[in-house]
Symmetry: D2
Subunit: 395 residues, 4 copies
């Protein structure tokens, strides 16, 4: 029922996005600048539309933090929508009734919440649906994720992401460690300098064709203690919770942990990550492995290896070349609605994926270690970590 | 907190598996034969090991059903483990302390819960972990899923599955409707008669090599009302809940809704499912589409099309050719443990996938329609369905 | 997991209180004025301190409402803390680190969260605890409750409260219907004009003695459909959920449904509410009763009678006559800390109780009837209500 | 979502009660005898009917325990209903359809789930409702509670109960420690030898009058670490969770923590529990208090004092002197239905109250301390306990 949880609220062109993150221990250093950094990363990436240049998201902390550290209270975040200052939007999205006749949106966009949302909620206008289903909401998640990132950082977990493919262009990331600074510097957040110009070109081509591109992003978490999640009940499996978190991101409809889809083609003897004998463990490591096909998760639990998760993002459905569709009121043929949009958001999706992974790991860390002050959490975690390794039986 | 939920309990060689399914309305016809049918389907499929031939699972209903229909109470199911009758298992898995010295299992199997489970739970023996992490538990889920299937069936939803690939062998299912009876008759549950013998051969080859094979299965749900799930909060998105449910299945580490991974390579104009004008809707259908790349889910909600979900199953990690691994007590090199196992479980995984999809849909149906007697649920659903379609604005 | 839920955030002297209410259907008329009305009622009552006169709470709606009606999205509310404008508070409760040395509060107040909170969260200062544990947070609940009140109002439920006792002064409310307008006009929100001056005098006397007074308030809900909640699982019982909601109010440590404590002294034959025969039912009513000892709840479900719940409020622990206590840092004897406080908050507690009851009923209504537009909820409710009454068996 | 949780299933005359308790750490000693002890205590007490003498409840452990200790898996319990062996019940409560015409129960019992249950679930027969709403279900809770008791016992918490009043007869328990063995030996579980014969006489008198008696029971938990629960969110308050748990017990409609109702009449200066200076703390204790009006809970958290909770139990509604009521099918006047029943169950209710308190505390302990093996839980708890006490500020 309780434990670490978060809720977001707010419409794309309403006054603001609101976030409450519940269950963060006290004593965790947290400031608006940390959150702003991730919000800015989400707004970047080659292929974004005009809105991302106009607005610079900033999450104001309005609860749960005092003098630079959390105090155990729920954390409230408030991200103003710059657009809402615009007089048109203030009327269109007014909380109060307005005198003006409002134009309805009735041209349904396939691929969006437009059709199922209007049917479910009983509307003859897409506006009330698209305002909340817009990917604008992911700014709220990235803000919540920045809090979670700080929390899991306190027990040594770091989280990064990079672009694996955009359209048909696939990156070949290095076999070993990724240079995360280089990824952040890349306009498409790719770890393969060769792929970068081809990705940019693919985005340009799609944009010129009034079209959009999807792709695949990968999120990695290092320093994850062994044993988060559990095999004992279906809804406690960490890999499954991560899958939910990823597919909950707008336009992400597929997810794989480690080499899941490649493994489905391999034989068992090729799909495993041999546990190395103690003599081959790098200094400071325990239970080292020869590979990481499993993406850091076995039996629904973290296994101490890097967690590696990929999300498959479909190309955005709102495209300037308006597609054949139907009208909500009449069912007659009509082109789909187009407001503004991005040609490609794969680089940003990685940042959102980081946030969702951080949020899932934060919950798992608190479930395993408890603790109401960050020192208590750290102490419990350290005491547990000391027990990890080859063991003689308990008496 | 409440709503439709279920828990399972029980170890692989313990006395029994136990299931409680909470939140089922009254008045739903339900009998042990229905559940037995799905349990038998789970035990079938070419490539299964000896255990599946020995045991014939049967779930006894011990609560929540009277005279052939549910009564609104939680439904309790009890699946006896035939193995537990064996004297060895009665000692090894005795609830009470035993006089005998117990042999511990300390040869860690990569790919299983063995390593993270023993570290997390603090054991010097893999037995307490593997008994619960065993895929035996999926029998409990299939039983729970049979209850959910009956429930969603009451509002017209039907759920099927078929095998998409085994190892490198990929089926080419027909473009149109699948002949589900033929799938059930196929030893590998495949909808492509050409692929069947090649799949069987691939399994034989893997078995001969003391190895195992994974693959991809697909689950489809028809008759799903438009508007299950919601776009308004991350954890209410139906696609994400389905992703969690699928990845929670043992050995499933990847999932895609519709053509997720293929869509990630397409342009936006190619990835969409055009909404057809009213003149082209087949009789009795509303908001018909020209394709189903989205797999029946848009904006986190069902869109009235067939729901199509694929799960990527890794090859089982317990293989007769014991793999290099390490010993739990010492960290020294050791071959991995082998009890008995299956060479390929992809056909069974489809059945488990059906169960998980049914469970997720049952929750979503009850959340949208409420109702405590199945007639009330049906009435609410029918009244809603009557509102689906082109609409003139509410006054 | 999902369904109707709400979270609040914010400290007493921080920038604001934040509320997110999730799961409200679309189409519900809602405006800031409605919420302001309940917020003002919470701030009233004889015996309140200075802060209530200074501040006039106002909840700004920043999400989930457009043009005067809800749109199915989570509803975000934002209540600014007027106090935070004060320069001292802006420093003391600054989110960012401050240069000034902060004075710590170390004089523990018995009866508050001070002691357990500092121990649990690991603080050497009470400030981080008392800022969140302050009853200021109940403003957020009353705002959330106003949303819930609107929601349950849509199916005909109305909720009121009145003061039953203050200190030793007990009201004798009329046996029949209560004149709620008169209650609202009373400075102590009492339904007994004789008791009113004695209650006022008791508060004055306590204030003069630098002391405080508690009391008992009663909340009633009329028009509740029969059959909310359920007997089938412990956590679905509506009476138990109401008990949790009431005891979750600051300073409320006891609760009774109907005549619970008096019934504990009666014999079974005296404690029941006879079901009247159909001939004696008032027009439009079904299953009328001769009395309401049960307070509208039987078997964990609403029975169609008025729901009647009483909360026992202890006298506020922060009193001007500082009490013997101990210092947090040293454990040495010290008088307890006193900031400002109220002499009596029983009248306000009734308003908070209304909010909590509304929130519990909103969840129960949505669980029973489902529905994503308020018309769908109403339609499902009406169709169910038509089935209530004597019945011939289903075939 | 996850964390410590439990579900029960089963009807009063069905084959069995089933319990699943999820989230228990591994390594906890647990056996059927422990559970049987509490089940027997629940069946005792002067004033119980014939059924309690006939049946001797026994919970078989069928999951989650191996060789006398828990293994981290969900714990499954199975309590057979002896009554179900009876041929009549096997037909009346058959899971499968039966050939016989079944007699329906249509005489509604006021005070029970009969009326709201049949209306809610849409039945023309009370049987499907009363079988689950029967207090028989509390056997399942007591079994679950025995598991929770073992768990909280591992961190030093002990839980007892005694009878405070039966009808008009009130016990005067000693001011100091209660002799729990004497309570267990008392037929009415009372801590006041003077009251005992008067309570027995009151029960006899009620029984002779074909009537029933309720009363008040008190549950106490000692050794509770300071800081369980939290003030930060309404649903994390431990006192409120306890209130829910108590009112969820059949026939309990009121609850108070400590002196809640007496405190509502006191002034603030009289209602508090002064924190004693360090010089007056008994050896080994920290933050000792001069009294315990608060019942061990302040600000929604345990404060290290004994937790004291009282439940008000109404007299059982099923009484041999059948009450005026109405018929479910026709609404015509009819006497209420009488199967068999108990004249007084207050002594048993205390045992059920212990179980519910244990279950709430188990969840709170795991939330605060985490831990997957009981040693890890204990280690985290001990490390925290070492920080409790007067403190110099963290740097």
């Amino acid at each position: 029922m309780t434990g670490f949880r978060f809720l977001t609220a707010g419409e794309s062109h309403g006054p603001a996005l609101t976030v409450i993150v519940e269950g963060v221990p006290g004593g965790l250093p947290l400031g608006e600048a940390q959150i702003a950094r991730d919000l800015a990363r989400r707004q970047g990436g080659y292929g974004r539309g005009r809105r991302q240049q106009i607005e610079r998201d900033f999450a104001r902390i309005t609860g749960g933090v005092r003098h630079g550290t959390t105090i155990g209270s729920p954390i409230a975040l408030w991200i103003e929508n710059a657009d809402h200052q615009n007089a048109n939007w203030r009327v269109r999205m007014s909380v109060d009734p307005v005198a003006e006749e409002m134009e309805r949106i009735t041209l349904l966009r396939p691929g969006h919440a437009d059709l199922p949302g209007t049917q479910k909620y009983g509307y003859a206008d897409v506006r009330p649906i698209l305002e909340r289903s817009s990917a604008r909401e992911t700014a709220a998640r990235v803000a919540a994720g920045a809090v979670a990132r700080a929390l899991v950082g306190a027990v040594g977990i770091t989280i990064h992401s990079h672009t694996v493919s955009i359209g048909h262009v696939e990156a070949e990331p290095p076999a070993g460690a990724i240079d995360w600074e280089a990824v952040e510097a890349s306009p498409v957040r790719v770890a393969d300098p060769q792929a970068e110009p081809r990705m940019v070109a693919a985005i340009d081509a799609a944009k010129d064709a009034l079209d959009s591109l999807g792709g695949i992003f990968e999120v990695r978490a290092s320093g994850v203690p062994i044993g988060l999640g559990s095999h004992v009940q279906w809804d406690r499996r960490l890999d499954a919770q991560i899958a939910q978190a990823f597919v909950s991101i707008n336009a992400v409809k597929g997810v794989e942990i480690g080499d899941a889809f490649a493994n489905a083609r391999r034989r068992g003897s090729q799909a495993q990550d041999a546990i190395l004998p103690v003599s081959q463990w790098p200094r400071g490591e325990r239970w080292a492995r020869g590979s990481n096909h499993a993406g850091g998760l076995e039996g629904g639990m973290s296994n101490g290896q890097e967690i590696v998760v990929r999300g498959a993002l479909k190309p955005l459905s709102t495209i300037p070349s308006r597609m054949p569709s139907a009208d909500l009121l009449t069912g007659e043929a009509a082109p789909s609605f187009y407001e503004r949009s991005d040609a490609c958001v794969v680089p940003a999706a990685g940042v959102i994926g980081e946030a969702m992974l951080a949020l899932v790991l934060a919950r798992a860390v608190l479930e395993k270690f408890g603790g109401d002050h960050i020192d208590e959490l750290r102490r419990n975690c350290a005491a547990y970590q000391a027990t990890v390794g080859p063991r003689e039986p308990r008496p």
